[in-house]
């Protein structure tokens, strides 16, 4: 497989270009982003688009971490604020605040959901052996959302499971 072909395999980028991406790799690629000062990553093949923050349309009686829905080329896409969902940092909306739109295709359906994060940082090339299991000690992020940890230089990056992120819990409405 040559470089061009690999480049085409990368999903289309959104408004923010991801620079310095090294395509020559044998492992998987992950898009890393920041929640407060912590590094998280998702499988880059699930990334549909990266958008700047815009005020979505509210969904009545939705939990606070669901900010609403936006129109992405005619598709109604819900927006989840990961900082609120995982209670990490503060949910402030600045110019650098971005929304990573992830599409996950499961057997029964395809879901597209946007996640609000503080900033997008990098693309990581990861060999399968580099992913380590996360210690089962509590934290803000539930175990089901975590696929593993990677050491990147001095820092630890948490790989999130897109499939689980996409499962918007059926929040009960007041009844």
């Amino acid at each position: 497989m040559n470089i061009q072909e690999m480049a085409q395999d990368i999903p289309a980028e959104g408004e923010h270009a991801i620079e310095g991406v090294d395509f020559i790799t044998s492992g998987d690629q992950y898009l890393t982003f920041l929640l407060a000062q912590e590094q998280y990553a998702v499988d880059i093949l699930c990334v549909e688009e990266i958008r700047s923050w815009e005020q979505p349309t509210k969904i009545p009686n939705a939990p606070s971490y669901i900010k609403g829905v936006i129109n992405m080329r005619g598709i109604i896409v819900p927006i989840v604020d990961l900082r609120l969902k995982f209670s990490i940092g503060e949910a402030t909306y600045l110019e650098t605040t971005v929304v990573i739109v992830l599409t996950y295709q499961s057997e029964e359906s395809t879901r597209t959901i946007g996640f609000v994060v503080d900033a997008v940082s990098d693309v990581l090339n990861v060999e399968n052996g580099d992913i380590k299991a996360a210690p089962a000690f509590g934290g803000c992020v539930g175990q089901q959302y975590i696929d593993g940890l990677i050491n990147s230089e001095q820092k630890v990056v948490t790989i999130l499971n897109v499939n689980h992120l996409q499962k918007v819990e059926k929040h009960r409405l007041h009844s």
Partner: protein, 714 residues
Amino acid sequence: MSVDLSQFIPSFLEESFEGLELMESGLLDLQRGDNETIHSIFRAAHSIKGGAGTFGFDNVTEFTHLVETLLDEMRDGRREVSSKDTEILLESVDCMRLLIEAARDDEEYDQVKVAQTSKRLSETLGNEPTSVDESLIKVDVEATNICGYTINFIPEHSLAKTGNDPIFLFSALAELGQLTLCADTQDLPALTDIDAQELYLSWQLTLHTEASKAEIIEIFEWVEDECLLELVPIKAPSNTSASLSSTTSSSTIKNDEQQTEPETSQKSIQDIEVQPPETELVIEPTIEDENIISKTKTKTKGKAEVGSIRVGVDKVDSLINLVGELVITQSMLSELGNDFEMEKVERLTSGLEQLLQNTKELQESVMRIRMLPISFAFNRFPRLVHDLAIKTGKEMELVIKGEQTELDKTVMEQIGDPLVHLVRNAADHGIEQSAVRLANGKPGKGTISLDAYHQGGNIVIEINDDGAGINREIVLAKAVEKGLVDANAVLTDSQVYDLLFEPGFSTAAEVTDISGRGVGMDVVKRNIQALGGRIQVQSTLGKGSSFKVHLPLTLAILDGQLVKVGTETYIIPLIAIVESLQIDNKLINRVSGDMVLYRLRDDNVPILPIYQLFNLATECTEIDNALLVVVEADGQKIGLMVDDLLAQQQVVIKSLKDNYQQVAGISGATILGDGSVAMILDIPGIIHMALEQAQQAQRVKTDGNSSVTAEVCL
């Protein structure tokens, strides 16, 4: 060459079902007696039989053959049309439908029913043996030592007039084996007497082949009445062929002199002589036939029905035209945008207006593709009423109006069952027995009418009957008995009728009860609501009842009223809106604590602030300045308090479920002109929510717990 027959099967199924409907409606009309109708019924059966045979649905062919035979007798006048026969034929149509559906879904069918009907059909036909022309098939198989035939073929002079040309017969024979032929020109008249359209030749052919006599006769099948044909078997071994071929060549020379015969025939005759085909290539059509049929069968199996719409060419053409216009507008606008200056703003405005017009027309045209006349849904009712009349022993007729009214295909498919319920109820419980009717001064024959018409952006379907009407007191008594209403409650007529749609109002065990209209009526209502529609009941005791079903024309687009609540824009479906008004302070009444009612003429309408229901921050929480949009669902009116009324427009409905989930009080979302998303309110859902909230608040209060808001805000 092999052709995959399975690709034609969906279209065969579609036209078969259409044919069945045609047969059914024809049969129902037939009682009045009409030769043209019998013909069309026959034609439909005939087509189904032909197609079924071709596509390998043998049991359909077999069964339909009986039906066709019976119809044929009626068509020829050999049999009087009797109501008994019509009943058998109607039953047969059901069976054919069963068989075709079973073939489509590759499932088992009710074999007992088919066998019974089949037996009845045979009995009706008087067990006449089906006299298919067997003479051709039963050609005696001769001894094995035959290696060919000498064929004397003397065609009538007029043979060519039916388009037959002996040359093709000969080349077909040549495919069976080695053919030599000898033309006899003795009938050839003098050159001046020759009619160019006549055939004066006859032939003696020698065919060395392993093919049976039947196969050879089959080739002459089309001309056997116009010729003398003799087949003499040639016993092997034989050397007659040699002598024959020598005579043949001499006759060919004679042929050359005959100017009247077409050029081509002579050449071809020579071709046959020069290139005798190899005998090994004898085709055995029968074996291959079977193979192909069994192949098709396996391919059809497990093939689910794919929905399709047959669209008139005119509709497609209009779309193409509109797209053409759109392209022109687009290029005009992009040219304008290339170097835009302020003085061109007028052209821009008119260009945009044109774009708006194009888009609107395009939208309408696209929607029109999905629109079908409601006759597709009404078609089954004549049969239903016919059957119900027999079953209930009542006299009734069905009157259908407005069957050309168009409706979205999806809506049509889903409204069928609720309508059947309503018609069945009208027949079961509305129409009285003739004696009762006559005693009440009504015609002995009851009338059920179905009517469809457009009203605004909706379609209204009316189901009326001139029966007994709904007895308000009985309904009410029953509702009280069931605990659905308080014994002391004062209800309007429409509220009483709405009780019919309450789940559990009536159970199947009480079908015979006068008020048994409630059978499955809750399901009817739910189905109609699921389509975004509503149902109204009117009834006059002793005169009859009327059920009006209001439905949106399509599920994809909705006429909406845009309203502002705080920073949010919501869409209220126009179909649900009764009226919108500025709140008049004097008409507000606070009752039983915190319930706010608005006096709308005679009605007291509860006011429901949307911001409260949806937990929104809004500047305008004062009832006094707000606007009230009075909506109605389930016969319940409520006033939605909004900050502002914006435009009315058509919106395209998008599901929230695709990427999120169902939201209470919201039926979907749409994208507005500025690209933002707006929620579409689900009025029945909101009323339901409000009722639950009120009940909960009441419960909390009686429990002495005051933290209502905490519960609501989660």
